[in-house]
């Protein structure tokens, strides 16, 4: 066999491949890896956009660890993550299980439950801001029906973060859709086999459904974690970018925004961005690491 035209063909194929993916390669250099390196550089400088960056070594990092507001905003973000993430995961899983039942009108229910997830953003935040209003909102009058005196919600430093959690639960529809797909991917044979073995409904759920859907839970957990650390729009809209009352909603990303675009401390904000990146990286790796212990990969079964 003559090998040289083959090499020529392979090389031509490679060239086509690189040509087709070149928009992304360019974009990756211009909008991802380039800026990442630049922000790493900025994090060691004092930079206000107008003057050129001035190298100050580790000063930003040292100042950051001494900055009370940094720890405060990190604390709020963790607090939100610790409440909202598990609650959202369990809540949306529960809804997905219900929406996976064979009952009449299931498509109507699905339509309603997915609806809030398409309208995220400013309008939703404004709406919930009104709902939480202690005097003219509808949440506290609703709670009063059960004899509960509602708090001031977004006006109360104690209750502002819980209010944001409630708001986030309203739009879990996106997670529900992903869980639903996972639930529908569980092979029927497994249920049949479990039934033959005499498993109860709960046992079938615990030992078939739950293990088989762990990859989807894993997926939602990772994306949820990343989303939580980027939490911004809702809290910006509801507090006009202040993070009030009493800085109780000064999320990490909001504080970063203030440093970058209010005070134009680009160097300091870059330090915050990199610290955030490292935090997210560590948590993502931890979850990935832990996944061996609890995520069941269907491929092991399907690969027969």
């Amino acid at each position: 066999m003559n090998s040289s035209p083959r090499i020529g063909l392979a090389r031509r194929e490679s060239l086509w491949a690189y040509a087709f993916i070149s928009p992304w390669i360019l974009g990756f250099i211009i909008f991802t890896i380039g800026p990442m390196l630049a922000s790493l550089f900025f994090s060691f400088t004092e930079y206000n956009i107008v003057d050129s960056p001035r190298w100050i070594g580790l000063t930003n990092y040292i100042n950051l660890f001494r900055d009370e507001l940094f720890w405060h905003s990190l604390g709020i973000t963790f607090k939100y993550a610790i409440i909202a993430l598990p609650l959202g995961l369990v809540f949306s899983y529960f809804i997905a299980v219900l929406l996976n039942q064979k009952i009449t009108g299931i498509n109507i229910w699905r339509t309603i439950y997915f609806l809030p997830s398409v309208i995220a953003g400013v309008a939703v935040a404004l709406l919930w801001g009104r709902i939480f209003d202690p005097k003219f909102g509808i949440l506290n009058p609703f709670l009063e029906q059960f004899g509960i005196k509602g708090p001031g919600w977004l006006a109360d430093p104690q209750w502002a973060v819980p209010a944001l959690v409630i708001m986030s639960l309203w739009s879990v529809g996106g997670n529900v859709i992903i869980y639903l797909a996972g639930l529908q991917g569980v092979p029927t044979e497994l249920y049949d086999a479990a039934k033959v073995d005499g498993a109860t409904a709960w046992q079938r759920f615990r030992h078939v459904t739950l293990p088989m859907t762990t990859p989807v839970i894993f997926y939602n957990l990772i994306l949820g974690l990343i989303g939580t650390f980027q939490y911004f729009t809702e809290v910006y809209v509801l507090t006009n970018g202040t993070g009030n009352p009493a800085r109780s909603t000064l999320f990490y990303n909001l504080y970063l925004y203030q440093n970058a675009f209010r005070y134009f401390h680009m160097g300091y904000a870059s330090t915050m961005a990199w610290v955030l990146f490292l935090i997210v990286l560590v948590f993502t790796l931890l979850i990935f690491r832990s996944s061996d212990a609890w995520v069941y990969y269907e491929g092991q079964l399907r690969g027969r």
Binding site: N100, P141, Q230
Partner: protein, 348 residues
Amino acid sequence: MTQSARSFTGVQGSSFILKAITTLILAAGAVIIMIPFLYLLSTAVKDRDQLRQSPPPLIPIAATTVNINGQDEPLYRVTIDGQTREMALIKNRPGGKGLFVDPANPEQTYELVIAGQTAIKHVEMHFENFPESLKQMKFNKLLINTLLVTFLGMAGMLFSCSLVAYGFSRFRAPWLNVLFILLLSTIMLPSQVRLLPTYVLFNKLGWVDTLLPLIIPQFFANAYDVFLLRQFFMTIPLELDDAAKIDGASPMQTLLFIILPQARPALVSVAIFHFLYAWNDFYEPLIYLHSPEHWTLAVGLQTFNALYAVNTNYIMAASAVMILPPIILYFLAQRIFTQGVVFTGIKG
């Protein structure tokens, strides 16, 4: 997604009672989901007086009034001597009492305890709030900017992501798999870590306070849409490519005339996602667009609220208008939407 719903208890095992309980819980949840929408719409059509009702009624109602001697007085259903009559309250008296008159005979007054009577209310909706609020927030300008960002960005995204997805799905080349994993890993990158230098770059180019920083990056592909398109391209039989190749088609022609027509559902899907993402996006328009004539709807609405928060009715009217296009799109393309989420998770 398969259409057959499968219960966790198994198809035959779920009893009637379990189904009934499920339906009840779903119905209760659905009410909770729908009430904010109802509140949004009802607040949007209230006038100033109606806004002051606390707690706010979910149906926009107002006190029915009647004209007595040139003054609008609230109408009550009162009981006098065992007879129920409609009367107007013209004056409050100490001790929770009030002076009532019969509109037909305003001369004769009755002093009654107000708490014992029922105020007559009627449904009153001010649909003029919609045009009025849109005018105040300069909606048309904001809409044009939003549509420009959304659709020019969509064109750039479809163009670049189709090319890249094709490159990743149909060719073999050294390092291509590594590059693909690199592409996917960017999904997990917090955007802040590249945001500030990107801002500096656009600032140097003089593009800050123009729509360009929101549109141009879309021409350089993104991980979500490339991934979704690539997964779909992989399902298109290679025989079609081969046939085209035998007919002398170049790879570019194969993409244009074989792959893209076959991939229409996937293209529609990423287009819808892009629409929702660009329509709702707030962070980047906020940092890049400074002057009001360049704002998008998201920024315009936020500022409108920051300036005129007391006009809750106008804010809610504008919010209702803003969420309308995504909702319409959702109802038109629900199946595509749900399938797309399964592929990628929700963007942004």
